[in-house]
């Protein structure tokens, strides 16, 4: 089941609009707050839940997987480089998780794949690469993403 927005917490900043990979988080025209415009297409990736600075987004889990009475909430703190989860089961059990999301400052030491060496003949004939690039079936070459399209923090 999809994400939903707590209207008392949302301030319409648009971080969820930017981050949603399915482009289904948008700003409602009348109330000027975020809204999931296509719940059927939501795959509960939790990107918007983590990106929201006000923690205004939550997920309604499917009843077979997450029955009523549960709570799953996440707190992403990028300056600390951590992501914390608090999961409450409906029988009262609670599990807390704290994991790192980076070990270096954001935006630094990102490997630039274009600057790495091309594979040599031996590597190209190895099991991993022997079907590249013909197996990709792209005669015109690979598509190129314009870096300006992507916001800071998105790397490729």
């Amino acid at each position: 089941m999809p994400t939903f927005v707590y209207m008392t917490r949302c301030d319409g900043c648009g971080h969820c609009v930017d981050i949603c990979p399915s482009d289904i988080m948008h700003i409602d025209k009348t109330v000027r707050r975020a809204v999931n415009i296509e719940p059927n297409m939501c795959w509960e990736c939790y990107a918007c839940v983590k990106a929201c600075p006000q923690n205004a987004i939550d997920v309604r889990g499917y009843a077979d997987f997450a029955p009523l009475g549960h709570s799953v909430r996440v707190l992403r703190e990028e300056e600390k480089g951590t992501i914390s989860w608090k999961i409450k089961f409906r029988d009262g059990r609670e599990k807390n998780f704290l994991s790192p999301i980076t070990t270096q400052p954001w935006g630094k030491n990102i490997p630039i794949l274009g600057e790495l060496e091309l594979p040599d003949k031996e590597a190209l004939n190895s099991q991993l690469l022997c079907f590249e690039p013909d197996a990709l079936n792209i005669d015109t070459g690979l598509p190129v993403l314009d870096k300006a399209q992507l916001k800071e923090g998105v790397y490729y």
């Binding site: 301030d11 648009g14 948008h26 300056e79």
Partner: protein, 230 residues
Amino acid sequence: MLDMAHKQSAKFFFRNSEKAKKLATNPVSSGEKASIALITVAEDVLTSAEFCNTKRRIAHLLTMYGFVIFVTTTAIMIFCYASITAITPSILPLLWHIGAFMLCVGGYWFWFFIRVDVAVEGNPWYRVIRADLFILSLLATATFSLIWSYFQTSDISGWDTLFFVLFVLSSTVLFGGVLWSKFAHMFFKPAAAFQKRVTQADGSRENLPAPADRPEQFGLGIKREAPRHY
């Protein structure tokens, strides 16, 4: 009011606060609640601290205080100094103009740059929908009032009457067309901010995990840029 009664908003919020109390790990005394209320007024109401975006915050402060000053001085001048023999203290028209000017600065800045339809969804500034009635009538009221004032002091008859009529019309549309939710935000936003602070103080935090006990050492990631990648 009928709508609120029908939606049972009060029941919902009351039930929510009961649920939050059950989750509380350190109960908050009424004295602490009173101090939280004062902090809410000082920060969230008077300085609009809930806005994370600085530009939005400043624009909201300009329009909020501009509106309050403008409407208050208008009311005072109409009800206390309306007679022909009355001598209006010069501070009142001065504040009236300052209020209208603040409204214009904050309002136009909001309209052209900050409005989420423009900033986040990529619509052009001239794309107008029904929800824009409020901000447009507010801008019209402030703008026409300043133009009327100018023509009146320049003693250009005809034009001053025209802009006075436009000023009255736009303020009628503003007050007559304001949605309940827009008007009510003055009350429910501070209430929501107070409730949020109480949940942080009593440990329930709306089921969110506690902030991690780690140093802030990595800088900003996706928050470096304002969301504009529509």
